[in-house]
């Protein structure tokens, strides 16, 4: 920190990311409440612990290798250059611990880690009530600490090869977080199969109503709340053109996207709210007022517009947020009916289809806009973003299809049918009831 201005900028940036991390924690709280609300009583603790334990598992593995992947694989490798050494991001780098010459790496790492939790947690909801925790946690580590950070290195890094070659633009992670997680969830669901009783003998799907709609409601409101932090965390809060070192001239400091392209916190805030509003209004109509889908529609609206919410006009964000989730809603029921996919929370639709389509739409709406402040980068285009959307979805889908198939082959993917019927909390519940009976008996004996 040379001057007082440098010092203030550093401390502001450090505190800014710290606040985003705290906000983003609410996403995980919301996911947990949402999943428990959707699950039935006999599976509550299993559902909760499955999602809770991804926090420590993704955290330690993201520290061990996830963070390094982000900086090491920006060139492919082999597409725009070799594998980068990325020594500062290795887990034994001296800047990963308390270090008076680096105040930012820790909070920046933590912000990325919270994106990792979110990506893994998206998969968690869809497979509730029948996937073994051990299998899910292996998949969560793969999604949260390997796959998504691979695609972030390619398409969500200022020097990523997808940005350079394709002009890929995905400012708030429609594809980078949501499409890849949706692809992974779909692959897991294909191998896992539906819950017992989900489909009638003739293949007609049955609705499995949430055990507690109120918990679902509060959960998704918390996800909305945490999403504000997610958006802020995707920005560089303040930076000078000189520090960026690209083609931007002058002395005006600005907020930027992860690509160092200019935007403002004000602009993305308006677009966030209007894309949320569009999603809720659109899906309310198409689902005929279904509360579950209206809430999910709001989330899908934000996800659909996220790829371009750094630049969209608010009305564009509103209509993208309104239309894309309606398509995703229809796709959810089409896939359920035709392919017998039991997605308990609609995660593939809300995150996968909406994220995928959001990236594609951004390619058209932002056609010709610069993807980067640096020279030599491709501009944003429909083709570049469409290819990018396919890469994102496929990078989640195919590796998880293989891993889930291997786990299934060795009997580690799915809970045994008898245990599924008995309830995944059977032992916990029995111990709870025994403890209650014991203490009641003891209390009554003292009177």
């Amino acid at each position: 920190m040379g001057s007082n201005l440098d010092a203030l900028t550093t401390i502001f940036t450090e505190f800014y990311y710290w606040v985003t991390v705290v906000f983003m924690f609410l996403i995980h709280v919301g996911f947990c409440m949402y999943e428990v609300g959707v699950s039935r009583r006999r599976n509550h603790m299993h559902t909760l612990m499955k999602n809770t334990m991804l926090i420590p598992l993704v955290s330690i593995t993201f520290f061990l290798f996830g963070w390094w992947i982000y900086s090491a694989f920006i060139n492919g490798p082999g597409i725009t250059g070799p594998l980068e050494a990325a020594e500062a991001s290795l887990p034994w780098s001296t800047t990963m611990g308390a270090n008076m010459q680096d105040h930012i790496t820790g909070v920046f790492w933590a912000a990325f880690l919270l994106f990792s939790w979110t990506t893994a947690s998206i998969v968690s909801g869809s497979i509730i009530e029948r996937m073994r925790s051990g299998a899910f946690w292996i998949i969560a580590v793969l999604v949260g600490s390997v796959l998504w950070i691979f695609d972030a290195s390619w398409g969500w890094h200022p020097q990523g090869w997808m940005v350079k070659v394709l002009g890929y633009h995905d400012a708030y992670a429609s594809g980078v977080v949501h499409a890849i997680a949706g692809g992974a969830a779909l692959a897991a669901l294909i191998v896992l199969g539906p819950r017992v009783g989900k489909f009638a003998a003739d293949g007609t799907p049955r609705e499995i109503p949430p055990h507690n709609p109120w918990l679902v409601t509060i959960g998704i409101f918390l996800i909305y709340t945490g999403f504000w932090g997610f958006y802020a965390a995707c920005n560089i809060p303040i930076i000078s053109p000189e520090v960026i070192g690209g083609q931007i001239t002058g002395a005006n400091w600005t907020a930027t996207t992860i690509y160092f392209t200019p935007t403002s916190l004000g602009a993305i805030t308006v677009n966030f709210i209007l894309s949320l509003s569009g999603g809720m209004m659109g899906v309310y109509i198409i689902s005929k007022g279904d509360a579950f889908w209206t809430y999910s529609g709001g989330l899908a609206g934000i996800i659909a517009a996220s790829a371009g919410n750094d630049l969209y006009h608010p009305v564009q964000a509103f209509f993208i947020g309104a239309i894309v989730p309606c398509i995703a809603y229809k796709l959810h029921y089409f896939v359920e009916r035709v392919f017998k996919i039991d997605d308990a929370v609609g995660a593939v639709a809300v995150h996968g289809y909406s994220g995928f389509l959001g990236v594609v739409v951004a390619g058209f709406v932002l056609w010709g806009a610069p993807s980067s402040p640096f020279e030599g980068f491709a501009t944003i285009s429909p083709g570049g973003n469409a290819i990018g959307a396919v890469i994102m979805f496929a990078l989640g889908f195919f590796p998880i299809l293989i891993v889930a198939s291997v786990l299934d082959g060795i009997g580690l993917l799915r809970v045994p049918r008898e245990v599924e019927l008995l309830g995944l909390d059977y032992k916990t519940q029995a111990a709870y009831e025994q403890s209650v009976a014991d203490v009641q008996h003891a209390e009554k004996a003292t009177t």
Partner: protein, 72 residues
């Protein structure tokens, strides 16, 4: 003698780098964390197998399933 390399703060902070204990042992600490993480998965799956086996052999019957399903 100090585990962090400093025994007082009579320093110019611009000259101070890492201040965590046992500098130089970072690779060994990381390897220990990798081992702990992998062993954790193995132990967890072993415990899970044992729990499911017990549920299937000792608790699975029509009455228990009926009670669980009825709780919704």
């Amino acid at each position: 003698m100090s585990t962090i390399g400093y025994s007082n703060w009579a320093v110019d902070l611009k000259d101070v780098n890492a201040i965590y204990p046992f500098q130089g042992w970072e690779v060994a600490m990381v390897l220990a964390a990798v081992a702990f993480w992998l062993i954790w998965h193995i132990v967890q799956i072993w415990q899970e197998n044992r729990e499911y086996k017990e549920d299937r052999t000792e608790h699975y019957n029509a009455s228990n399933v009926g009670n669980s399903v009825d709780r919704y």
